[in-house]
């Protein structure tokens, strides 16, 4: 009943361009933001933050990044893990080289550095297309992980080969390092994810977004109607990598605190984020959130039910998880290539007409 377009006329193109043209959606969006910023921080404990909220928020940023490249610009990348590693090591080097500068600035700079690396590995996309490119991005994945593993400068010659985040504060409150409170870490990630989503939304609804989608849908036609493929693809690589770099920086500095590159940023991470956008919805910012939430919650759910509830060994739950994730990927590709986001849209469409379907 409340979910109506009727009577909600748009009188200007500005209004029509809004992210949430329907009032009810807009209110729900403000309500969600309110809950996320003003209520959840007071309710959460360490378990929820570390098992659910932080990974969800951080993966959502990575998924937004990959979605820009793959979902909007049509360039499949299997190098997400490697680019997250760039973000992590960049922020680590910055934090240790310039301890007096705020870590928040370092995190953003880590994104910028990753954007540069992304452009470098995006250059071949001008010549290589489709899964040739997908396979080529594996070069980035393997090379970068090797680099951070083998060149001691990147891990400051530490004996273990690991990097660990020193304590840094914001307004007197630690936001990296072991002393960080759960709610502080949560809020930092929440701010980043909110800004990322807004920026991504803005970029994808304007001329840049249309360039990307034109390249995605038909690159030759796009070039003939005036899109410079070089600019479009490289900007997609840059911006995508920027977000992926942010997420890598947060993953290391705020979430894990210590990282061994091969373990944390291996090829499985690349696949995980790719799966998030397939399940959530290619070419949808909301889908990036949905996919991240789904794949973060699934193992938690399986663990609680199978291991906690039924008392099965953990490895069984892990094997089942692999099967479910793999199976879902196939099911979504066959039945709903636009993922959860599309399912949600269809449901809304129905709601809009409810209770009179004609």
């Amino acid at each position: 009943m409340f979910y109506r377009e009727a009577g909600d006329f748009k009188t200007s193109y500005q209004d029509d361009n809004q992210t949430f043209p329907i009032k009810f959606d807009r209110y729900r969006y403000y309500f969600m933001l309110f809950v996320a910023f003003a209520i959840i921080p007071f309710m959460i404990n360490d378990y929820w933050v570390n098992a659910v909220f932080l990974p969800f928020l951080i993966y959502a940023i990575a998924a937004i990044g990959l979605n820009i490249l793959t979902g909007y610009c049509g360039q499949v990348s299997l190098g997400t893990g490697g680019f997250m590693a760039v973000g992590a090591y960049a922020v680590y080097k910055l934090m240790t080289m310039f301890p007096e500068v705020s870590v928040l600035i370092h995190i953003v700079l880590a994104g910028v550095i990753t954007a540069g690396v992304g452009v470098l590995f995006g250059l071949p996309s001008l010549r290589i297309k489709g899964f040739y490119l997908a396979v080529a991005t594996l070069a980035a994945q393997f090379f970068l992980v090797w680099l951070f593993n083998r060149v001691p400068w990147f891990y400051n010659y530490s004996a273990s080969g690991q990097i660990s985040a020193p304590e840094r504060t914001f307004l007197g409150e630690p936001i990296t390092g072991p002393a960080t409170e759960a709610w502080a870490a949560y809020l930092v990630c929440l701010v980043f994810v909110t800004l990322s989503a807004i920026v991504a939304r803005n970029l994808t609804r304007g001329s840049l977004g249309r360039k990307w989608m034109a390249i995605r849908d038909m690159d030759i036609a796009a070039e003939i109607i005036g899109v410079n493929p070089l600019g479009a693809k490289l900007s997609a690589f840059a911006i995508s990598s920027f977000f992926v770099g942010l997420s890598g920086a947060l993953f290391f500095a705020v979430y894990l605190g210590a990282v061994e590159v091969g373990e944390v940023f291996g090829i499985n991470k690349s696949f995980l984020v790719l799966f998030m956008i397939i399940i959530g919805g290619l070419g949808s910012i909301f889908g990036s959130f949905a996919g991240a939430a789904f794949l973060v919650l699934l193992p938690v759910f399986l663990k609680n039910v199978l291991v906690g509830g039924l008392g099965w060994p953990t490895d069984l739950a892990a094997h089942l998880e692999f099967m479910i994730v793999g199976g879902l990927i196939i099911v979504f590709l066959i039945a709903e290539p636009h993922g959860l986001a599309q399912l949600w849209r269809v449901t809304k469409e129905k709601l809009r007409l409810w209770p009179f379907p004609h």
Binding site: S12, N17, N202, S207, M218, I225, G226
Partner: protein
Amino acid sequence: MLDQEQGYVTADGRQIGGTVMDMRNITLRFGGVTAIKDISFDIREGEIRAIIGPNGAGKSSMLNVISGFYVPQEGQVYFRGEKRAPMRPYEVARQGIARTFQNIALFEGMSVLDNVMTGRLTQMKAGILSQALWRGKAEKEEVENREICEKVIDFLEIQHIRKTPVARLPYGLKKRVELARALASEPKLLLLDEPMAGMNVEEKEDMSRFILDVNDEFGTTIALIEHDMGVVMDLSDRVVVMDYGRKIGDGTPEEVRNNQEVIDAYLGVSHD
């Protein structure tokens, strides 16, 4: 004959201006196949110029040369009096040449409106920061260009499908959306590759009317490829006839129709 500087007056009394596009001795080969053999012709300001010929004659290849998608092995392209340096297709588009394709090349994953808006991409200049924040130039430019696109959408009578994903449209409407996308860029030269292929009579009439209106209202110069001779005779001011990559006729519809070589080509007289 034609006056190179002055142009000419058409049968229905329109004044045609000087040369916009001048193709000189174009030869295009694909490996062993010669798609275009030493062809020269011009396109003049404000005219509707048809390119006709049997299948495989090299018509689409010719449009692709104009678009910069194929680079001819020999010959030069003069656009608005200047010899065109070798350039990428997107640079050609930025010079004000827009086109539609023989096999519809719309962006299937986008709505009709977004497809039409892509026609404005060459004109949209907002920086990345402005776009990221959706402030200043980006927002302003979006609205301005949207207005132009809405005019085109009204003009082609596709308001009702504005927000529909292109993939869901029937063939005839897709062709119209493709024309809208080309028109949105306000081209100086519009290239249409078989705009009426696969349409029924009624749709063809609509499309013919749109093409005439575009030419009439905006003074757009148009080059079009078409198989339907009736349509060609009605629409075009001058016709180039191609066969097996050669030019076998050039002139008004009337002249071309009476050209023996053209008649032979169309009746399928064997080549030797």
